[in-house]
Point group: C2
Chain length 300, copies 2
């Protein structure tokens, strides 16, 4: 199946799963952000990983949609005034701008447990062992050892660098910064790609070798994606990206560009994408969809 | 075992489960609110339900602690400035007052998936079917069909009544208000008691009759607990309760007292506690611990 066909199937399912129930306001708020037009990279990758290991796409759809819901949850809370304080996301007003802060906090909370609930309710063909494995993967990626660890250190780094920028712009980047930035990207970005790929592979019944290959692939791809995002934050426009850009630079924030400069960022992005292609071919994972995604990230 | 022995076991386990990992700040923030001194009613009731249906307490401990973590999650987010904006909880500063708003949002988020992760990691003696049933119960209670539904309508009601109070204090209470208040209490308060009791019973292997009895018991007990809380909000002191009181009245909020008055509140509380005793005895559920809890709520 082509990328666009998969996106269509995912969007239809997300709409179906997020049926407006009582109290309507919370479901409308959840649905608003989840259904903002997006590239659906994570659920597409989940479905593709499942297919590569022999699963029927139908069996991976609830999990793919759950990963997208979790991704939306992180966006809703990251955009809050007490975090990144963003007004726009994918060209539309952010959740708290439409529904208010209280509802945005609650919509994020609700998605965190709605997503795995969708998996349990709708994955009729998966056995109990697979379901429990998927739950474990989900909790690990969603929680304090996963995306939240990344977001926490992102916030902490911002505080350090805003303060450091005031008195010593030269000294502020060192070896520790490299490790810190790597940690942030690994958790804030790679963990969700890894979740998508690993759960898809589990549904397909992948062995340890297959899982480990997709884990490495997800890690590298996530970091490449984040470098591309940092590059676009410097070089793109609001109209193209649908969100306010240049805020990172203005805030003196630790990013791939502030640490290494644009030229090295582009070179490292290229090397990571090459590495991703290598992992796929070394492990016999032939996927036009993965190749398309990698090429798009490279060309950011 | 006596109530105090159970509380001690629970506190020890909560401390053990919430080991400070990297990034330390998020784990410290999670641990701070979970370990505030409390009555531990929900985890105690989970352990007691498990015991009543023949389970070893050890096997229910991870689930009991998870329910307390979920309860703490709701407290952290309910106390946020964009929600109830409370500075004190159990006599101590609220989470966002100590760790800042961003970290309080993230600590709540983290607890939502840390809690079920604790169940999966530590319930070695539970079979897969029971684990999946417990997951389903957890997602149902924690999400938009459970406590969040209650919190959403509580916030919505507050808006309606603050506005209504401005122009028509006489007209503002009617039959719909009764249903609305019942809905709020049923979800905001009863759902967590029901979760504690039902998961405990599932661990013990209760049949449908046993589960249904505990469901009714949890519903009534939750509403009784909430009425007691509303009464104490009117009649107690900051020193006794450890939180700011009288805010509900000042805000013209919909509470059991504002709707029915103190006298009827006390009478209904008594009737509900009687009903709880009746459910226990009708179903052969003999429990000194449940009786103690009921008597304490009655005497509020």
């Amino acid at each position: 199946m082509k990328m666009n066909d998969l996106i269509e199937i995912i969007d239809k399912k997300l709409d179906e799963y997020l049926k407006i129930s009582y109290p309507q306001k919370i479901f409308k708020s959840m649905k608003y952000t989840v259904l903002l037009p997006g590239k659906r990279l994570r659920p597409v990758m989940c479905l593709e990983a499942a297919r590569l290991f022999g699963a029927d796409i139908e069996d991976a759809l609830p999990t793919a949609c759950a990963v997208e819901m979790l991704h939306s949850q992180t966006l809703i809370h990251d955009d809050l005034p007490c975090m990144d304080n963003d007004d726009y996301r994918r060209g539309k007003l952010t959740n708290h701008k439409v529904f208010g802060e209280a509802m945005a906090v609650l919509a994020g909370d609700a998605l965190l447990t709605f997503a795995p609930q969708i998996i349990l309710k709708n994955s009729k063909n998966l056995d109990r062992e697979k379901l429990l494995k998927i739950m474990e993967e989900y909790f690990q990626a969603a929680g304090a050892y996963g995306v939240i660890a990344g977001q926490v250190m992102d916030i902490e780094a911002e505080k350090i660098y805003s303060a450091a920028a005031l008195y010593d712009a030269e000294e502020k980047f060192n070896k520790d910064d490299e490790e810190l930035l790597h940690f942030i990207h690994l958790h804030k970005t790679s963990d969700l790609f890894k979740l998508a790929l690993r759960t898809g592979a589990i549904i397909g019944g992948a062995d340890d070798k297959g899982l480990s290959a997709l884990t490495k692939f997800g890690e590298k791809l996530g970091i490449a994606f984040q470098i591309a995002d940092d590059i676009l934050d410097e070089t793109s426009t609001f109209e193209t990206m649908g969100k306010t850009l240049g805020k990172d630079k203005a805030a003196g924030k630790l990013t791939y560009i502030s640490l290494y400069g644009l030229e090295k960022a582009r070179a490292d992005l290229n090397a990571l994408i090459d590495k991703c292609f290598e992992i796929l071919s070394e492990n016999g994972l032939q996927s036009e969809i993965f190749e398309n995604i990698l090429n798009k990230i490279r060309k950011c």
